[in-house]
Amino acid sequence: MEKIALSGLSFSYPQAESAVLSDISFSVEQGELVVLCGFSGSGKSTLLKLLKPSSAPHGEREGSVLLDGQDIYSLPQREQSRRIGFVSQSVERQLVTDKVWHELAFGLENLGCDNQMIRRRVSETAAFFGIEDYFDRSVEELSGGQKQILNLASVMIMEPEVLLLDEPTSQLDPIAAGSFLSLVQKINLELGVTVIIAEHRLEEILPIASRVFVLENGRLTADEATENIAEKLKADGSRVFAEMPSFMRIWNSVDEGGSPCPLTAAQGRSFLKDFFSKRKPFPLYPEEKRKYEGKALELKNIWFRYSRDSEDVISGLELSVEKGEHIALIGGNGAGKTTLLSIICGMKKPYKGKIEAGESRILFLPQDPTLLFSGKTVHSTLSDALTASALSQEEKQAKIRKISCICKIEKLMNRHPFDLSGGEQQLTALAKLLLQKPDILLLDEPTKGLDANHKALLASVIEALIKDGVTVITVSHDLEYVAAHAHRCLMMFRGEITAEDPPRRFFSENCFYSTIPRRISKDIMDCAVTTDEVIYCCKGEKPKSKPIDLNDDPQNTAARAESVRSSSASGKKSSSVWRAVLAFAGGACLIFGVLWGTEIIKLKPPCEPYFLWKFAAVIIPLIMLAAAFSKLVKASDSFDKRPAKQKPSRRSVIASTVSLIAVPITIFVGTTFLQDQKYIFISLLVMLECMLPFFFIFEGRKPKARELVIISALCSLAIAGRLAFFALPQIKPLIAVVIIAGASFGAETGFMTGALSMLVSNIYFGQGPWTPWQMFAAGAIGFIAGALFCRGVLPRKRPVICAFGFIAVLALYGGIMNFASVILVHAPLNRASIFLYFAQGIPLDIVHALSTLFVLFFLSEPMLEKLDRIKIKYGLVKQKPTSQN
């Protein structure tokens, strides 16, 4: 029975020249496991995303996708989110909540299952996927492999009929990848779920796949049963063969017709056995003899641990590296490889031992190349590497041009580095390091997630560097890459180097930790450890290396971001000016009214009844404020909500009315009937009454996923800032981030960010009686920033934002918090006590305000720019209607 059927599916990104996918038709049977392969940029990801409408990219789509005969795009959202599961390659980003159990329950909560049902399903799923052990833990504590298994489990808990996997193991180490793929197989075999998986790591997945699809430049060039795929590709002379496992590549160049293509390492071994049943292998060419010119780096007796009472991560390590040598560190997880790299480049200090590197410049390419991306374009990122150098402008440009040609990124110079594919990002990061002229280059898992093309390109750049005399130290799990390119391999185990040899000897003597070509050729050939070497032993000649040509890959992925131009929302100024005036007047009157109502200012009302006067003094400014802000708030909200004409929901009307009535009543009742503790009561209640309507309105309008994510991201930035600068006294970027959030996303988001980030940051720093005041103060600042900047009342310029930040912190935040301390210690509300408590607060407030100004000075412009990019790229601002549902 056909589960999924595509006919004539084409897709192109808006305003891109060529289509990403053209005319793709295939069908997948119920319970099949299908592998999708092709180079990166061939459209695999786009194709998979199109099979799940909720993650389908914006763009032009033609043709149809049927699930059980029904058009997938006409299925109700409930159906398609339940029936189609999707797991992507970014392990971290798919996780939504902070706890493992909550992550599992998330999907079922969305479907509206009751507690009983969720409890049952969560427990059985946890048991099936083997995650009982860390069920109660924070997601953060899990390893990469565990996280990806959790992603799989929390998709599978919704019982999808089709599971789409987009390079799910590309960020995992081989062992974690193995256990992930075996779970996928279990799901397919035991539950009969239809699986479509895109993968570069084919050794493990091919044997269990029933069919293989090959995508090239957006076209489906092969749709074959797994047994026949090799023949088909060979007949076509397809370049995609480079992606196939080593034993298949060996078969490809060696087989003289007759024997079927091996699909597992074991079959590959018997293929070779058969091949050499009648002949002898050619003796292997000798390893290149290399001469080095002295030592580049020497480590003597290095000891390292993270804290005093923890275990040693590096214990007594000795290592010496020659100039121009390429060494590779391999070993299991937790062997200390990455730690060793950070010690070599000086990021971590050993507690014992000596590092001798002379004057050499040591640079580090981290596993995550995006950490080096500082600019808006590839070009500006590269230029940043040269800011310190004394070269003239032309020399710098020439240098950048030269390096970018070497790294083959010259065509990407104007793209945003985050829009590039993984391989292109790796090369860009490498180019940035090369501009700084390293003597020693440290690479951490450089081939992770790369396809064969980019891997070859990276290797050729590295080879060129070594010829140039640069010393390279690579940490990798990719044994074939290491075997082919390193000069010396070192095995790390529990913080020590346990074996070191040139690659041939190293991998010939290992029996488990060895390359696949070695494993299948063991006892047949002497010491062939790479695919090319095995092929040489078979044929007596080196395989012709196919020219690398990356240029014909249509890389349209980023076109959408570039094509969409920013449509800055410049509001009408004239109408908002009087509103701002009204708001300020209302605010001033309100402060007066409250002070009068609480009898801090003692004034006799003109005539009886007194309480009516006081009542009016509070409610009239509130109405003014409401009038001033009602339109500001609505208009300034940049989230694309609902049709603009729709009336505000009943809930929000009720909520705002309630607060408009409740606040003055509270003040009135409080001042009239309470004696001793009236100020605490009144202020707490007033704050609650001001904040709750916001929360209710927010809840009532059912915010979209993207809104929630943006608000949480902003909150976490604010709090992470508070944590990050914890060591520096009073440099707390929290308020600064809140102001930027408001300025970019409007009053409501500003308020939510302020209030919630205070609440959550107190989870770290301790809740206290001050929590509501802090929430109120930060929320108010965010709200005002949103009302002023987002709507264009004040220009979104650096000096203005800085000045606003300074005043807001000093007057609003400081004012509210000092007032809070007066009230909390039950001090009498008279001039002396207010003066005293404000005086003791002001020095710290000034430091706080200055630090906010400082942070805003550096952060406001780049961050607003980034937020604008996000808004445009992901369609958070209103634009011309897109074709997507």
Binding site: S54, Q77, S81, R82, S88, S90, E92, Q94, L95, V96, T97, D98, K99, A105, F106, G112, I118, R119, S138, E140, M347, K349, F364, D368, L371, L372, F373, F418, Q677, I680, F681, E699, K704, A705, L708, V709, I711, S712, A713, S716, L717, A720, G721, A724, F725, L728, P733, L756, V760, G766, Q767, P769, L824, H826, A827, N830, F858, P862, K866, I870
Partner: protein
């Protein structure tokens, strides 16, 4: 058993904290203050001895003393004159006593909060918020998920871009480069956050009728404790509102400390503040008994 109170339904715990904090904040009857302070301290000591002792001596007591000293300086009500301040204002006995009382009141509140921080973990906070507003509670949960992710990336980026401990630079230049690095990580982080939104949508977020799963159950103990907390605290509130055991500081200290109503207040308060301890002790006894039976 130490974790007995911790393992109750968060609603019960929240109700307890709400009651004791609200009462400690608003009742200034001297014996009540002492009982509440002692009760809060006892609970804290039971859960975390070392931290509480440090908290008491480093923070709570000095703060109480400070407030007691400050109050007479700014508050000049009261009839019992003691002496004049250099700038001419009088210091009164009532203001001093009131200062001591309010110092202890705020210290009690702080103690309750330190107990609350021990008991109300983020999980429970999210659960409580989920009762009122599911989206807010989801935001909190996601924020807690993002913070460590962001911090880790920030640390990594700092290290990779060479702002380590190794360089000796001034505070300003260090802060400048930190802020720049911060801004660098932000863009990476924001790009990724949209993928999170897709993952949410892919798993059905935004459908009608979302529920909030709670792994907490409502057991018999919760029921009993909740009704105890409600009845005890409402009794105290009634005593407070009807001013049956009223105590005043100004213009002169006056109030009956040993009237029947006051005695009732003490008993009710004592039971209320010691509920967590009593519950833990009872669970401990049950465990012991079950061992004896074997």
């Amino acid at each position: 058993m130490k974790d007995a109170f911790y393992k109750l339904n968060p609603l019960t715990e929240f109700l307890f904290f709400f009651a004791v904090i609200a009462l400690s904040m608003t009742i200034n009857q001297p014996v009540f203050i002492i009982l509440a302070y002692a009760g809060a301290a006892a609970n804290c000591l039971f859960y975390n001895k070392k931290k509480t002792i440090a908290f008491l001596f480093r923070f709570s007591l000095p703060m109480t003393a400070l407030i007691a000293v400050i109050n007479p300086l700014i508050n000049h009500e009261g009839m019992t004159f003691m002496f004049y301040l250099p700038w001419g204002n009088p210091v009164t006995l009532e203001a001093l006593l009131y200062g001591v009382a309010s110092g202890f009141m705020i210290s009690t509140v702080m103690l309750w909060f330190s107990f609350l921080n021990e008991i109300m973990t983020s999980d429970k906070l999210i659960y409580l918020f989920g009762r009122i507003s599911p989206s807010l509670s989801l935001i909190i949960s996601m924020t807690l998920r993002f913070i460590p992710r962001f911090s880790a990336k920030y640390r990594e980026a700092r290290a990779v871009n060479g702002i380590g401990e190794s360089k000796e630079a001034g505070v300003i230049s260090k802060a400048t480069s930190s802020v720049k690095c911060f801004s660098m990580v932000i863009s990476r982080f924001l790009e990724g956050s949209i993928e999170t939104a897709d993952s949410m949508k892919g798993r059905g977020y935004g459908l009608k009728g979302r529920t909030a799963y709670a792994k907490y159950r409502f057991r018999a103990a919760d029921f009993v404790l909740m009704s105890l907390i409600i009845s005890l605290s409402s009794a105290v509130v009634v005593l407070r509102i009807t001013r049956l055991c009223h105590f005043r500081y100004f213009p002169s200290v006056k109030g009956e400390l040993l009237s029947p109503f006051s005695l009732a207040l003490y008993v009710l308060t004592l039971i209320l503040v010691l509920l967590p301890l009593a519950y833990s002790a009872e669970e401990g006894l049950i465990w012991k008994k079950s061992r004896l039976a074997v």
